[in-house]
């Protein structure tokens, strides 16, 4: 039985021919068989750029639906959005908050994007981020006598490694035992939360802290923002570009892409499926783990404490789908989500709306961007098939 994923898919990402003879070449663009001829002119531009237009339409539609909800709560929606975005983008505090949120959001978005390219759906960025953060907290405390730069580097490396390890557990379970990654990563999220809750209440607890929290990062190792730009932001931006380059221009990226499009063909071409699955999950976990260590080094109170992860890992899913699993797309998506998250408490303070309005807005956005309906309504038969397909139990 042929897998539906085996069929040639949309023109926006290009289609991989199933005989990867020269492995490092980028996938050639082949028009879909039986598709109508691509339209030209303005319409053609719109159709070619639909991976950008669909998320934009989804965001606008979500904000409109959100406006109705806000009105239903007795608040003027224009005022609410104005308050939210003015704070997030036009005040120094707000902008810094937006940028600070962007860092883990981009990294978690990437942590979802990479496995998605291999056909895996990583719901575990949350747990991987927490694993990275606690590893950073533990190692930073262990080497607290060292110079600040060394502490920061050690903490970041530890975060990456531990996050990668946490992610690769799910990868290994998938590759060797066929355990579906959605279930295993969700379980690993809960396990990470439980273990860390034990650690910050017991072995890792800072006795001077009134609530359960790890020791704080030594002063010298803390990231001091450059103006309103936190140090993590350039790191995250560079990584987004690197991941985009890796996926498009390297052998590894090509192998990932080939597995995602047709794992039987990939296997036939000699790609080691199980190794690649573990590797993809390890890279994803490493990125999320880095996000955790950056949170620890960058965000007041510079400790691991309850709620450090917020819902960053789950926002990563929204970002990856908004970005249409394009690594560079995570940047604008993270900017939007970061602005909403950074402005939520100010919005709540000024309008009396619950801060959960942001969760609601993001949920509607996610719903609209992932429903194929929007693209179909706008583009009719020129709709590009979704490139993001996860695998089911059997495969």
């Amino acid at each position: 039985m042929a897998d539906p994923r085996d069929e040639p898919s949309g023109a926006d990402q290009g289609v991989v021919t199933t005989q990867p003879t020269t492995e490092a070449t980028p996938p050639p663009v082949v028009p879909e068989r039986g598709a109508p001829p691509p339209p030209t002119g303005v319409l053609g531009l719109l159709v070619r750029e639909q991976s950008i237009i669909v998320p934009l339409v989804a965001v606008v539609a979500a904000l409109l639906i959100g406006a109705l909800l806000i009105r239903a709560q007795g608040v003027n929606p224009t005022y609410a959005y104005q308050t939210l975005f003015t704070y997030s983008f036009l005040t120094a505090d707000g902008l810094q908050g937006t940028f600070e949120k962007m860092v883990p959001l981009i990294l978690c978005g990437l942590a979802v994007v990479i496995p998605l390219r291999v056909g895996l759906f990583n719901i575990g960025a949350q747990g991987q981020l927490m694993a990275g953060a606690i590893a950073a907290a533990a190692t930073a405390h262990a080497v607290r006598e060292a110079p600040g730069v060394i502490i920061a580097v050690v903490a970041m490396v530890a975060g990456i490694l531990f996050g990668a390890m946490w992610g690769s557990i799910a990868g290994a379970l998938k590759a060797t035992r066929g355990v579906h990654e959605v279930i295993s990563t969700i379980m690993l999220n809960s396990i990470a939360a439980g273990l860390i809750d034990y650690l910050v209440n017991g072995p890792f607890k800072d006795p001077s802290s009134p609530y359960p929290a790890s020791y704080s990062a030594p002063d010298a190792s803390r990231f001091v923002p450059l103006g309103v730009v936190p140090i993590g932001l350039p790191i995250a931006l560079v990584l987004a570009v690197l991941v985009a380059w890796m996926l498009r221009r390297t052998t590894l990226g090509f192998q990932f892409e080939t597995i995602g499009r047709n794992r039987h063909a990939a296997s036939y071409a000699g790609i080691k499926l199980s190794g690649m699955i573990v590797l993809a999950m390890a890279i994803a976990g490493g990125l999320a783990g880095l996000a955790g260590s950056v949170e620890y080094l960058e965000i007041d109170p510079y400790r691991y404490q309850d709620g450090i992860a917020g819902s960053l890992g789950f926002d990563g899913i929204t970002i990856a789908l908004l970005a249409r699993s394009n690594p560079l797309g995570t940047i604008p998506a993270a900017l939007l989500v970061g602005a909403l998250r950074a402005g939520s408490s100010n919005l709540s303070f000024n309008t009396g709306l619950q801060p959960e309005i942001v969760d609601m807005l993001l949920a509607i956005t996610l719903l609209l961007v992932s429903l194929p309906i929007i693209a179909k309504l706008i583009f009719r038969r020129h709709t590009a098939k979704s490139s993001a397909l996860a695998s089911s139990w059997g495969s």
């Binding site: 759906f121 379980m187 809960s190 017991g202 789950f314 309906i373 993001a388 996860a390």
Partner: protein, 329 residues
């Protein structure tokens, strides 16, 4: 007799487990009763959630969104019961919201051909967003869920205490298991459902409307997840909290796989989960285990069970694959 010959292991283990349970009961009836009660209590939402999965996945639609279905149902059930002052309304609204969520999943995946895993995850996130935004603290139910003693059956030692001195939703779960099992393996509907989940093209050739049947099954299957949600917010506790399902929808999925997509085995698997959980809480009094380890035990157990079970059970052949008439499968 024929059945006994074919299922020696299953029958044998049931006997062994029952004898073990009653020996335990004879040694210490209080502890045994409370542990088994706790186990069933833990298992009820898992059984119900997994039944939603059974119906959906036997029809060929993966449902990762059970967690979200349960959460929305818990929310809708509790707040409609609190607003109307009627528990019956609450339960019905809970079940209905499960069905509505099922309809959403089936429309997007079966009609809209959206990726089933992504649709399920989206349902979960949307459910979290919806329920946390509309949540208002401070509501209470007008009365507690009634506890029924089923005549005669509730007099049986141990089994009567555990299963038949019960609230309405737990009873619903207990009845649903054999009913779904019978429907799935002994009725025309069941045969057709299994066929569209195994080999939809063949079923289509035989004249079964695959699309319509998947739509109906996945929608109606939501009733169990709806009941599970109502159980959590009205019967297990009387109150709704943000994110109160706490991964139970995913435990249900694991149990579904562990139980090999068969309602009776799913029931046994859920009891096993429940019993392990009850045992751990019981042991906590004897040896000192940090509370957090007890909490995360079910999740760890899920991973272990899945890693062990994965190679031994077989998923319905076409689960997760959209069916497009005329394109083969």
């Amino acid at each position: 007799m024929e059945w006994l010959k074919r299922n020696q292991v299953a029958a044998g283990s049931i006997v062994v487990l029952l004898v073990g349970a009653y020996v335990f009961y004879a040694i210490n009836d209080n502890v045994a009763t409370s542990m088994f009660k706790g186990a069933w209590f833990f298992a009820v939402p898992l059984v119900l959630g997994a039944l939603t999965g059974v119906v959906g996945e036997r029809s060929g639609v993966v449902n990762i969104g059970i967690e979200g279905q349960m959460l929305v149902a818990a929310f809708a059930a509790f707040f409609s019961a609190a607003a109307s002052g009627s528990l019956v309304v609450g339960i019905l609204v809970g079940m209905l919201s499960g069905i509505v969520m099922g309809a959403f999943l089936s429309l997007t995946t079966v009609k809209g051909l959206m990726d089933q895993i992504i649709a399920g995850v989206v349902i979960n996130i949307v459910a979290t967003g919806l329920t946390s935004f509309f949540y208002r603290p401070g509501k209470v139910l007008s009365s507690n869920m009634p506890q029924w003693d089923i005549p005669l059956l509730s007099q049986i030692p141990l089994i009567g205490d555990v299963f038949f001195q019960t609230g309405p939703i737990a009873l619903f779960a207990l009845i649903s298991v054999p009913v779904v099992h019978f429907a799935l393996f002994r009725t025309r509907w069941g045969l057709r459902t299994r066929s569209i989940g195994e080999y939809p093209s063949a079923a289509d050739t035989a004249g079964i409307d695959v699309i319509r049947m998947r739509l109906v099954n996945v929608t109606i299957g939501g009733i169990f997840a709806g009941a599970a949600g109502a159980f959590l917010s009205m019967e297990a506790t009387a109150g709704f909290e943000r994110g109160m399902t706490a991964g139970r929808g995913f435990l249900a999925l694991a149990i579904l796989i562990f139980g090999g997509w068969r309602p009776l085995r799913v029931f046994a698997a859920a009891l096993f989960f429940g019993f392990t959980n009850a045992l751990a809480s019981q042991l906590q009094g004897v040896i000192s285990i940090p509370q957090q380890f007890i909490t995360l035990l079910p999740y760890l157990l899920t991973l272990i069970v899945l890693a062990v079970a994965a190679g031994r059970v077989r998923a319905p052949g076409a689960v997760g694959q959209p069916f497009v008439k005329g394109e083969g499968s």
